[in-house]
């Protein structure tokens, strides 16, 4: 732990305590909500109004402003879930377990949005709602992985045991993440290649790019808010017999 600055270590140590986590997040979420609102209004205004129509795809390309951030987040959240699950597995931290399972429903939502908006974008551009190509199939597998995690967690009554099972499933499923990312490079596909991470082809004009990055920021903040809300709900159920939840009830 000598690589971690002392205040940071102290912060995580305190956050691992359920009552402190509950109290801190209740004060953090309003701030995050304002930041989210600001970003989403700016991003949507830039993406839907200011950005010019694409010279090939017309106005249909505006689906990108939700499709691409949600697809990015579907992978990012999965990695967060697996890392939190791994931490819970090794150090038996209750809050890491809760962060892991709370990420699952948010990640499943992002994956669902990426698939549906992709389908709605594919129909006018490719002429089909769906193709069984590498990118689309691996993203669908990601949705099933999330649903598997949620289902497995619900199927085991003892939540400590459930968390351990879920963490192992999440860690095994991590192999799917590089497959999704490189699917458009490794296989021939209808799906277009990367436009942001390919530094040889800066193909997106700045007026189209900045709203995308702002929306990506908004979606990341949304993930934190939604995951923390889920975690708070999960926490009071798991800790229902503890002193701090009783104190919380009595203060009402």
């Amino acid at each position: 732990m000598f690589l971690i600055p002392k205040p940071v270590g102290k912060f995580f140590h305190r956050m691992a305590s359920p009552p402190h986590f509950y109290d801190f997040t209740s004060r953090l979420i309003p701030w995050l909500s304002w930041i989210f609102l600001f970003l989403v209004v700016a991003g949507l205004y830039g993406g839907l109004v200011l950005a010019p129509a694409d010279y090939q795809q017309g106005d249909s390309f505006r689906i990108m402003y939700i499709h691409v951030p949600s697809a990015w987040m579907s992978m990012f959240v999965y990695v967060m879930m697996a890392v939190a699950g791994g931490i819970g597995l090794v150090w038996r931290l209750k809050l890491a377990e809760i962060v892991a399972i709370s990420s699952a429903s948010v990640g499943a939502g992002f994956t669902f949005i990426a698939l549906v908006t992709g389908s709605l974008w594919g129909k006018p551009m490719w002429g089909t709602w769906w193709v069984w190509d590498a990118r689309l199939t691996s993203e669908l597998i990601l949705l099933f992985l999330y649903l598997g995690v949620i289902g497995l967690y619900g199927a085991i009554d003892d939540k400590r045991t459930a968390s351990r099972a879920v963490a192992i499933l999440a860690l095994v499923g991590v192999v799917n993440i590089p497959i999704i990312h490189y699917s458009v490079v490794w296989w021939n596909t209808l799906h277009q290649g990367p436009i942001i991470s390919d530094e040889l082809r800066p193909t997106v004009h700045i007026s189209m790019l900045w709203p995308l990055l702002v929306m990506a920021g908004a979606f990341k903040i949304y993930y934190v808010i939604a995951m923390l809300q889920r975690a708070r709900a999960e926490l009071v159920v798991r800790e229902r017999n503890s002193q701090w939840v009783k104190a919380l009830l009595e203060s009402k």
Partner: protein
């Protein structure tokens, strides 16, 4: 640009607004559901606590 033109989305209105609509609904449900569940659970626990005190 007028409103009509904006909503028409160059002929792609259905695809664009369907995408945005579904996204808003899914994101709302995912963030609101745990809030409702937590409040419901705390209310139940409070009732249980009060009942125990009576006994």
């Amino acid at each position: 640009m007028n409103w009509q033109e904006f909503f028409a989305m160059g002929g792609y209105a259905f695809y664009v607004w369907m995408s945005y609509g579904i996204t808003v609904i899914v994101m709302l449900v995912i963030v609101v559901m745990p809030i409702v569940q937590r409040k419901q659970f705390l209310r139940q626990q409070l009732l249980r606590l009060k009942r125990q005190e009576k006994i």
